[in-house]
Symmetry: C2
Subunit: 139 residues, 2 copies
DNA sequence: ATAGATAGTGCAACAGAAGTGCATTATTCA
DNA sequence: TGAATAATGCACTTCTGTTGCACTATCTAT
């Protein structure tokens, strides 16, 4: 994607499009799998960890990316789809973690099914991670 | 529960019932909510962190407790039910994390619904955490 | 009952991820 | 241009999880 295009996307989300932010956005865009802070750090070895940390936090606050807890203990991030509203319960999609290639992807078209909770419990958010073997890792 | 009872339960799981292990088991038994290593550490302040760590790891290996990743970033543990087979996909229950009291409980009778994955994906394990308000935290 | 083997415990230290404070640099805008 | 605001980079801290090693308790076979 062209830099100018990313710039305008960031601006739409009220994120000032600095060089670093455009690079990070592009990196996330080019990778189907969700990336961790450490992934970013390894890829952008010229840049400081803190900068990347705060970049991703800014993205998260502004709804550019969403956090993924895939159970590996390391938080990962993926771009939100256009018009995605990660916070709304009905829009929560599930994530798939591949035990073989250690990559996590969004299955944006698979929503988390509604669960009937016991009396007195109210749901506000949900997280569903399926672990197994992904399409890229045939048996 | 009587010490003798816990002793025999541990023995049935091939865990040698040391004093520490009986205490830890009892602690987990008396608390409905899942506990983290830090919780154990705070409660058993006379005991060493490593001992508690290895105790809980032994329990986990032998199927006495199961690990819970509730998205807080801290792994928690809860006793397995009798005959529970946490590893089998069909037996996976979901967990509930309360945003108010910061406690995580097993909803053992709510199983994770089956999800149809895209072609090429195979499920081996799953983790579902619902977050919200628990019965003990009325509005 | 005792000696040797095995298992459990406690201390110290380390690793990785996440987060904060502060000084420096870049950008905006009046 | 110059003051205000935002972004970046460095150093440091905290928290959780983990391992190595020495010491102690427990078990088992003689």
């Amino acid at each position: 994607m062209k830099t100018a295009k990313i710039e305008s996307l960031l601006q739409k989300s009220n994120v000032r499009p600095t060089a670093m932010r455009i690079l990070v956005y592009n990196f996330l865009l080019e990778n189907e799998a969700a990336k961790s802070l450490t992934d970013l750090e390894n890829y952008f070895d010229k840049s400081d960890r803190t900068t990347l940390y705060r970049t991703i936090k800014t993205f998260e606050e502004k709804g550019v990316v969403h956090q993924i807890d895939d159970g590996t203990g390391t938080t990962k991030y993926a771009l939100c789809e256009q018009g995605c509203n990660c916070q709304i319960e009905t829009d929560l999609h599930l994530h798939f973690y591949c035990n073989i290639c250690d990559e996590t992807v969004c299955l944006t078209d698979r929503k988390i099914p509604h669960i009937n909770l016991p009396d007195g419990y109210t749901a506000e958010d949900a997280n569903l991670v399926i672990k197994g073997r992904c399409e890229k890792c045939p048996e």
